[in-house]
Symmetry: C2
Subunit: 202 residues, 2 copies
């Protein structure tokens, strides 16, 4: 295990063969976890799909839950950014559409299932917390900027995040209809208007 840990490049180290191998392994893990679940996927198949030797997987991730956790985090990075075009409404609409797009994938569905408290191992729970923290932090920065610019009254940004992303999770998870841009527009419109209307006057 000491060897495995020493072998890992720092997370921010750019490029290189070893970084490429790790990325391939994480992508393969994401795909197989989506297909077979956290408990069902196999290291042999990860190695085969990633085009690497099985020992590369074992050496880098002796603990399978850490492998899953890291694959979850890698996947979620894409969903943890919020653009700043200067138009808060538009940026939040785009954020919700990216979130819905991510949740609709097989891996997103696996993530939604893993997130249910009954299914959380400590390692996976920790990874999920980090994903949520990243997303909340990205949203907080964007919302704080809007508050500074006077676009929005001071607001609890994690509450704002729950208000706008809750309906996205609900609609995608029910699977009865797609989450469309008009949905995102309505959700963001109602929440921003509601926050402005209920803000205490000073």
């Amino acid at each position: 295990m000491a060897e495995g840990i020493a072998d890992r490049p720092p997370a921010r180290r750019p490029g290189g063969r070893s970084a490429r191998v790790r990325a391939q392994i994480l992508a393969a893990t994401a795909e197989l976890v989506a297909r077979d679940g956290v408990a069902g996927f196999r290291y042999e198949e990860v190695a085969e799909l990633a085009g690497v030797h099985k020992t590369s997987v074992y050496r880098n991730w002796p603990d399978r839950e850490e492998l899953v956790a890291e694959a979850l985090l890698r996947y979620a990075e894409d969903l943890a950014s919020v653009a700043d075009t200067g138009d808060l409404h538009r940026d939040l609409v785009d954020f919700l559409l990216a979130l819905a797009g991510g949740l609709e994938t097989p891996f997103g569905q696996t993530l939604e299932q893993a997130v249910l408290p009954a299914h959380q191992s400590p390692t996976v729970r920790q990874a999920l917390s980090r994903i949520l923290d990243q997303r909340v932090a990205a949203l907080r920065r964007r919302v704080d900027t809007a508050v500074d610019r006077g676009e929005l009254p001071p607001v609890d940004s994690s509450f704002l995040g729950e208000m706008i992303s809750g309906p996205v999770h609900l609609i995608v998870n029910r699977g009865q209809r797609a989450f469309a841009r008009t949905d995102a527009e309505r959700v963001v419109g109602v929440v921003l208007a509601g926050i402005r209307a209920t803000a205490p006057h000073d």
Copy 2:
């Protein structure tokens, strides 16, 4: 199978031994599905927990998915009512607290898992649609009354339902904190204010 169906009392028939037995079987099913999942629970244990003979379970529900579906529906009946005290805000807050209470139970969590598209068999999907339809219908009646009374501008009540219940599902499913009355108050406050503020003027 013909015998099994003929044996079933109409859904609204009051009381009687056979109705009592059915209720016991459905409650036992709910408990075991929550513990062992839709695929894992066993008829033998349902019978034992319900205190009935195994043949009573098989005769009434030769199809295990129908048994699960009916247990889901029975459970969900409690969550499908919305009071009318004349105060829309208060009634929606109570609705959200009841929803959160239901989702926090082991059976509620099983329901949340079953609802993910990947897990839906046609029978279970149909049951879930009926649950959602019941809930949407109850909410729609309450919202329509509020619109008639001039408490709220005309609004798409199923959208309103998604807006207020989305954050409840999200917070409960993450399991990082309880959904409290202050959460319900904030959610309903922002959504109603936002709907009023964004309503088209006539």
